[in-house]
Amino acid sequence: MRRARRVFGHLRRAAVAYAVLLVALMLTILAYYYVRQNVEASVRDQFDETVRAAQDAIDRQMNSYVEAMLGSRGLFYASNSVEEGEWDDYASGIDLQERYEGMQILGYAERVDPADKDDVEEQLAESLRDEGLGDRSGLHPEGERPEYFPLTFVEPLDEVNGSLLGYDAYSDPAYRAVMDRARDTGQAQATGKVYVLTEAPGGSRADLALEPGLVVYLPVYRRGRSVDDVDQRQRALEGYVVAYLEAEGLLRGTLESFDSSIDFEIYDGEDLAPNSLLYDDDGVLRAGESQEPAGFFGTIGMFADSLAGGSGGSKLSDLRQIDLAGREYDLYFEALPGASGEGGSRLLPLFVLLSGLVVSLLLFGTTFMLVRSRLRAEKAGRDLEDANHELESTNRELEAFSYSVSHDLRAPLRSIDGFSQILVEDYADEIDDEGKDYLGRVRAGSQRMGRLIDDILGLSRVTRGNMERKRLDLGALAEEVAEELREARPEREDERKVEFSAQKGLEVWGDPKLLRVALVNLIGNAWKFTEKSPEAYIEFGLSEKLSYKGRVPVYYVRDNGAGFDMAYAGKLFGAFQRLHGEDEFEGTGIGLATVQRVVHRHGGRIWAEGEVDRGATFYFTLRPGLRLDPTASQKEGTTK
């Protein structure tokens, strides 16, 4: 429950970061699908192009084989009878074995009536003997049939093909149907998939091998007979040009030039089963098969492939019908996984996906950091506020404390002073002069204590409390303060009259109450320390020398009074520090400390120059600024 709340809180605070992550991920996925679609489309286009080209090539190849058959038929139309020698010549004339690699046999099956059967058999047996192919009756399989179509010419006539000499394929119903169709249409017609006897490929132990292939029949009609309809064709039939085509030889050369990443498979009819397979490019049956992952690496490969756009579920394949000499074959194409020549473009979507993910995570990280630092800043702000509240309450406590001090600490002093006075007055007879002197000291002490309390309170008052800055004329304020001092000390009006001058129009931005306190102390000090000077002179103004262009204004209060030894200048502004004896000049030693606090609260600095009996000058600034005159700060530093 608490955990859930924490997670929820985290999500709420970092909502922006998660929104950025979500948007970035969505954009990544969109880009991935877009690129993948493009790549797939271009791969599909290329695939389609290849498929079309392959189909055309197979068509052309088949046509060229049929052309060769048509050429051989020409022999029969050119002369009354064709001799075996002529057939042989034709075959070598068209360079049969070189140019028609897939044509295992180019032969002729002659139509034989039962009446002529014996003559033909005899002839065949003779030619077998002539060729040295053994001694056997020519026409096979044996048996009585209404018509016979024994192969009478076979090219090339070698040991393998020789076994087919005299073979009557018409006895086989499957062949008979094809042959009848050829006869009736007048066109070349192919059988379905058959096995063709060939010489075993090199390296094999057997002498013979059965290879998938097909047989094509081209009808030959009697010379000069019209063959306009089926009936006429049936009666005019003389025999067939027969071609045994071995699929491997027929197609290998044709398809070799195409993209090796595409597999071709040719099936007899619509049944894409292994036993109807005519030709397979790579020896792996793919049509109608769902691929089994081949172990661990196969799985990885498939996964990567599906991400890269291969999309395992819909592998790139195509099934086309192709007409091979009047028979429909199924042509199956399939893009092989992985081994593509354009692997680069196939990997592009994967690259887009991965880099998109990286960028999304980076964005998320960056945003999260930003959000976190903002939250921290807010927390820091709240902490600061709390600290301020605390400070305020501390200030209130201090206020109460100093009120108490001001009120309660003074009451006993009044008692001490008052009763000492009463003693002196009422018991004057009983106390001798020495006793009266002591009582006088008690009174002086208590009065001094009273002043100390007042000054300490004043010091603390300038330290606490809010600053309320206003624009004011410091010169006018100094004049006011001097006027008050003049009224408070009327005894100095005649003798040792104070000459006071203040520069007017010195506008500053400060707290009037605090600045008044500062000036009362500074000018009051000057008043006090010029008491013994015959021609007292006090001056307030802006120091032209120290406040030239670019510097903060430096104000000063100068007198020609008692002055001080610069060796003790460092002690001037410490609380309770005095450079003069109480008997010389009265004071608590808190005034200048108070002035310093006022100046510091305005962000300024204060320092002094003086000489014994030659007067003193106090300089101060009221805002932070550039470094002051280096000589001034040096003096300030060396006096420590």
């Binding site: 009120h407 003074r410 006993p412 009044r414 008692s415 008052g418 009463i422 007042d454 309170l457």
Partner: protein, 146 residues
């Protein structure tokens, strides 16, 4: 006839010193002393210990300290000014406090004068002399109550 001065003061030393300062200045008026704010209010309104007091006799002037037990001086002043009978009574705040805020509050609540008790007894005597001269001799007060 004897004009009465009401001194509201909790510190016995200050009471003695005030009495002496009055005597020194030959101010012979009757001095009633209340030792806290509550007692002062009792006297003024005839309640508590002063139950049944003749309220037609009101002090000529009230010398009021601010820091008092029970009810503080400013509260006493506020209640006096809220009541018809004491609304116009002259009140002089006589206190140790030098806080600016007390001064402002004092006049704000309707004090007629504000005097800070100096530590120096001689100065205190002088201050009492002046306030006695002014409030007891020179000042004319309208007749309050009835």
């Amino acid at each position: 006839m004897g004009k009465i001065i009401l001194l509201v003061e909790d510190n016995p030393d200050d009471e003695v010193l005030t009495r002496r300062a009055l005597k020194k200045n030959n101010i012979g008026n009757d001095l009633v002393v209340a030792h806290d704010g509550a007692e002062a209010l009792d006297y003024l309104f005839g309640t508590g210990a002063y139950e049944g007091r003749d309220l037609s006799i009101m002090p000529q002037v009230v010398l009021l300290d601010l820091k008092l037990p029970k009810v503080d001086g400013l509260e006493v002043l506020r209640r006096m000014r809220a009541d018809e009978r004491t609304k116009l009574l002259p009140v002089v705040i006589l206190t140790s406090s030098r806080e600016q805020q007390d001064l402002v509050d004092g006049y704000g609540y309707g004090a007629n004068s504000y005097i800070r008790k100096p530590v120096d007894f001689a100065q205190f005597v002088e201050a009492v002399r002046q306030l006695g001269l002014y409030w007891l001799v020179l000042n004319e007060t309208p007749r309050a109550g009835g």
